[in-house]
Every structure is written in C-alpha cells, then in structure tokens.
C-alpha cells in the first residue's frame, strides 16, 4: 500500500534529526501523588461535599451556640413571669425556637447541649476504638506467634452479645457518662481490629516486606511505614462509621433506662423523651427536632466515611 506523495516535500526534511534521548522519557511522565488523587476523587463526590459542609457548619454551631447572645441554659426550668407557672410543652415560637419540653426546659438549648454530649461520647469512643483496634489488629496480623492466642481472645469476646456486655457494665458500674464510654470502648474495637488484621495478613508476606525484614528493619517500623498506609481507608471508614454506631448504642441504652441521667441532655435522652409523647400530634415536635439533628449527624458521618474510603482506594484514582 505505498503512497505516491501528492505534493513535493522539502528534500532537507529527509536529513537525520537530532536524537534527544531524554525526549522519550518526558512524553510518558505522569505525576501521581496518592493524597492529591484521594483529595481530587473525594472532591468530585458532590453529595459528600455537601454533607461535609453541612456537618462542619453543624459542628461549629454546636460548639459556638452557648456563646451566642440570648441563649437559655439547657437545664433551667423556664417559668412564665406573669403566671408563675412552668412553661411546659410550648410549641416553637419566637422565644423558644424549638419549643419547650414537658417540664419547661428550652428544647433548642437542650438539643445543642445534647449534641455536644453525644458527639463527645462518640469521639472519645471512636478514638479509643481506633487506637486499640489498630494496635491489636496490627500485632495480631503481623506477629505470627501471637496469632493463635489473639484469635482465641477475639472469638470469645466476639461471641458475647454486645447487648449483654453493655447491659451488665451499665448495671455494675451504674449508668452515667463514664460508664457508657467504658462499656462502648470495651466492645467497639473488635471490628476494626479484625479488618486491620485481615489486611495485614494479606500484605505482610509481600516481597517488599520480606525485603525490609531481610534488611533488619524493626517490626514497629515495618508496621508503621510499610503496612499502615495501606490501611488508611479501612481505618478511616471504621472510625467514621463508629460515630453513628455509638450514638445508636447510646439511644438503645437510654431506651432501656441505662443511659445518661436526665440532668445531662444527650440525643438519646431527647429522643426517648420525645418518644414518650409522640402519640399526640401537637407535642410531636419534641421528637422531630432531636431526630432531625441526630439523623443529619449520623447520615453525614456515614456518607463521609464511605466517600473517603472510596476516594482513598487507588483503583478509583485518576
């Protein structure tokens, strides 16, 4: 299939060109950075982005709220100065933006206070779970000698229904802020530990780890530098999901009567208080407002956790 060239071509073009060895390398270059790509993919997820903004706004507001002017105390029982009667079950109006509850407390203040409490619990438990889960899981997966023992421990702990542990802990230690945190920390780290261990078992025998071991790299450095970065997505996902989980357990314990005392508002408390009067339509707002805030928080963490895990998976990278 040779062509007859239609136009005349400058004969000088048939001389040899300068051969630049570097040019061949340059055309194929790609500048890939793991974190930059993770960031990029995450930002492309519009839903996650919107929720992130909403969540950040909500969180900021939660902590700023008591400093704003004109806010009531969440525990103060408001009394109508004219009649000296407690202002109970007042629907939302200009003084009480979310209304009052059955003993006259400002629901608006209570909700934000409750959110603070619940978030605090969630963060503490989440942090603890992350710490213990990673350490246990990493050792479990990497150090072969410990595998049998740690697996047995895991099996036993896993087979005790969480409900039972939480209930027993609550009864033994008496319901309260500290008890709840201790109880949930005891049960929560198992999931992350298992994920971490499974991932590590998969990568620990890969050649680059073998090479590190041959070079005499100490175990803790291998775990920290070679293995953990692989686990970032799993860890972030589990930690983000633990917050809605913790709030769920808090609601459960409060439902049973083993939650925080009424004097400390929490989302669990508020939902349960609302539940008691949910059948009368005019009082329903006492259930709906806490539920909306709770839902926004739990859904945001859930979606953000998943979005980050997806973004940090190199298969989704540009």
């Amino acid at each position: 299939m040779s062509d007859r060239l239609p136009e005349a071509i400058d004969p000088s073009l048939f001389e040899f060109a300068e051969f630049d060895e570097g040019a061949g390398e340059r055309i194929g270059y790609s500048d890939y950075s793991y974190w930059k790509s993770t960031f990029k993919v995450f930002l492309k997820n519009r839903m996650a982005l919107h929720l992130l903004i909403v969540l950040i706004a909500l969180l900021l507001f939660t902590f700023v709220q008591p400093l704003l002017p004109g806010q009531n105390s969440p525990t103060k029982i408001n009394i109508d100065p004219a009649t000296s009667v407690q202002m109970r079950n007042k629907p939302p109006d200009s003084t009480f933006w979310f209304g009052t509850n059955s003993i006259g407390q400002d629901l608006w203040a209570r909700i934000w206070s409750g959110t603070r409490t619940s978030l605090l619990i969630g963060l503490i438990v989440g942090f603890f779970e992350m710490l213990v889960g990673i350490i246990y899981g990493a050792l479990w997966g990497y150090v072969r000698k410990l595998d049998r023992a740690m697996t047995e421990v895991y099996n036993v702990l896993n087979n005790i229904p969480t409900t039972i542990i939480l209930l027993l802990m609550a009864y033994i230690l008496r319901p309260g802020f500290r008890t709840m945190i201790i109880a949930m920390c005891l049960t929560g780290w198992l999931g992350l530990a298992r994920f971490v261990r499974n991932q590590i078992v998969i990568i620990r025998d890969r050649e680059y780890n073998l090479a590190s071991r041959c070079l005499g790299t100490p175990t803790r450095r291998i775990i920290g530098r070679n293995l953990l970065p692989y686990l970032v997505s799993v860890i972030m996902l589990q930690t983000a999901l633990s917050i809605p989980g913790t709030i769920g357990w808090e609601v459960f314990l409060t439902y049973i009567g083993l939650g925080l005392p009424v004097s400390i508002p929490s989302l669990g408390n508020l939902v349960n208080e609302g539940r008691l009067i949910m059948m009368s339509p005019d009082l329903r707002y006492q259930l709906i407002f806490p539920t909306i805030v709770l839902s926004i928080i739990t859904i945001s963490f859930y979606v953000l956790g998943n979005a980050f895990a997806d973004a940090s998976d190199p298969r989704n990278h540009v």
């Binding site: 087979n159 005790i160 039972i164 609601v251 459960f252 059948m279 709770l294």
Partner: protein
C-alpha cells in the same frame, strides 16, 4: 469431615464455656441491693441473708459455678428466682420463643427476597436512579439508629395505613407492621452485600470468558454472576435464622409482642441470675452454632474450600 465437625464442636464448647462463665461471674458483681427491688430497706438483716442464701448467692463463686454446670449437665437450665419465682426457666422461655422466631424468620425470608432482588437490580443498573435510590435507603437504615426510624414507622404506619399499634395474635393486621419493621435492616444489609459482590464478580476474568463464549448478558448474570456472588453470603444465613430466637428488643417493646426480646433486659434489670445465665447460654450457643453451620454451608457451595482447621477469626 467427621474430624472437622468434632474439632469445631470442641472449639465451640470451649468458647461457650468461657462466655457463659464470664457472664456468670460478671453477674456476681452486681450490687446486692438489686436483688430485692424496692423492698430492700424494709427487710431485716436476717431476712436478707435468708433470701440471698435461698438464691444461692452466699456460696463461694467457684461452688456456685460448679453447681450451675452440674445442673446443666443434667439438662436443668435453672429456676427463675425473681422474674417468675420458682418457675423453671424453660417454662418461662418456652411460650415466648415462638413469637420471636415466627416474626424473625418471616422477616428474614422477606428481607432475603426483597434485599437480594433489590441488590441484584442495583448492581445491574449501577449508577442509575434505582441504584441511587437503593443506596439512599441503605444509608438511611445503616446510619440512623434503628430505635429512631422504627419509632417513625410505627407512628406513620399506624396513622397512614390504619394499622393497629399493639400486637394481638388474633388480629392479622397487627402482624404486618412489626414484620415489615423487622425486615428493613435485613433488606438493606442483603442488598448492599449482594450488590457489592456482584460488582466485584462482574470485573472478573471468567466473566469475560463467558462473554467471549457468546452468552447473552442476561444468562451471564443469572448463571455465573449471581450464583457466584451469593456464595459468600450463604455463610451468614444459618446465623441469621437461628439468631431470630433472641428477638428484637425495640420491635417487641414498641408493639408489645410477648417475645424473647425484652426478656433479657428485664431479667438483667431484676438481677434474676438463673434467667440471665440461661438466656446467655442460649443466645451464645445459637450464635456459635449459626457460624458453624454457615461454614459448612460455604464448604458445600464453594468447592475450593477444604474444611481443614477452623480458619481465622470467627
């Protein structure tokens, strides 16, 4: 095969022993006042000691533990001491189990059918409206605590569809809402998992080969993808069905269903040790047996799995 079964059985027994004993001992840490409810202050010291003695709580812990296991070996699950005085545990539990299991199994079956169907369609129409809607549903169910959305279902379910709030075994309509509520979580779970597994399978090489054979997409989906994606889910099925015995605390209390759900909370609250121990024993055994059956089921479905040691963490 027999060796494997025996080995697992032994492992399960040991785990069960540890679990039950741990709970047994934990219960002994509960405050003594709790055994008496409100009437504590009114009793004299002698009466208190007599009552504790009768409940077998004054013996040293190892003798208490020993007695428990001896009785167990004879098939005696104990007698309730507070919840229903002097009634054997089995009698207390027996009438409640059918309610929990009936609802549980119906809900599990419904969840399987609906959830798997939803998940399969979501995987096939990945990224389209159905997938997004399904994902929104899954997010909602997973993120929001069940206590919360179950409340709203009862609230609006009863008013919008004119369904009864409380359960009554003779009114068929009152069965509907609890059963549906119970299945919601399962639908979300099964849909999410089968969708994930299917999407994973769709990328595999043997699917490309199936396509190169000239198989139409539909047949590939049914014969190869769906069947292979279902296999990892099989291991959770026995556990799901067996664990219905523990009942759902929320649903049973929301609709006043006399099942096993609220029982555990009640008996812990009242510190009725024999009841608690028996329930823990039952629930844990059910969990362990469920896992065991699940592993066997997997070995049946997946020819690659050889039942050698009990693999990894269970």
């Amino acid at each position: 095969m027999i060796r494997y079964v025996l080995k697992r059985f032994l492992q399960s027994m040991i785990t069960l022993f540890i679990v039950v004993s741990m709970v047994f001992l934990l219960m002994r840490l509960l405050p003594l006042e709790g055994y008496f409810g409100d009437g504590y202050d009114k009793l004299s010291a002698v009466q208190k000691t007599a009552a504790l003695e009768r409940m077998g709580l004054l013996d040293p812990w190892y003798s208490q533990l020993g007695h428990f296991y001896l009785k167990l070996a004879r098939g005696d699950l104990g007698t309730s001491i507070i919840y229903r005085r002097d009634v054997p545990v089995t009698e207390v539990i027996a009438p409640r189990i059918p309610y929990s299991m009936y609802f549980g199994i119906t809900a599990t079956l419904m969840a399987l059918v609906l959830g798997l169907t939803l998940g399969v369609f979501m995987a096939r129409k990945k990224g389209k409206t159905l997938d997004r809607a399904g994902t929104a549903y899954i997010v909602l169910i997973n993120a929001v605590p069940s206590a919360v959305y179950l409340l709203f279902i009862q609230l609006y379910g009863t008013s919008l569809f004119n369904l009864p709030i409380l359960f009554d075994r003779y009114r068929v309509k009152s069965w509907i809402l609890p059963a549906i509520s119970l299945s919601l979580g399962g639908v979300a779970g099964y849909a999410m998992w089968i969708r994930r597994y299917m999407v994973d399978e769709l990328n595999k090489d043997y699917i490309k080969l199936a396509r190169a054979k000239g198989l139409p997409e539909k047949l590939i989906m049914i014969r190869h993808v769906m069947r292979n994606a279902f296999v990892p889910m099989a291991q959770y099925l026995p556990a799901a069905i067996l664990s219905t015995i523990s009942g759902s605390i929320y649903i049973e209390s929301l609709y006043s269903i006399p099942g096993m759900g609220g029982l555990l909370v009640d008996v812990i609250q009242r510190q009725d040790n024999p009841m608690v121990q028996a329930l823990v024993l039952i629930f844990s055994s059910v969990g362990i047996i469920g896992l065991f059956l699940g592993d066997i089921l997997m070995a049946i479905f997946d020819p690659r799995i050889k039942l050698v040691k009990g693999e990894g963490a269970r």
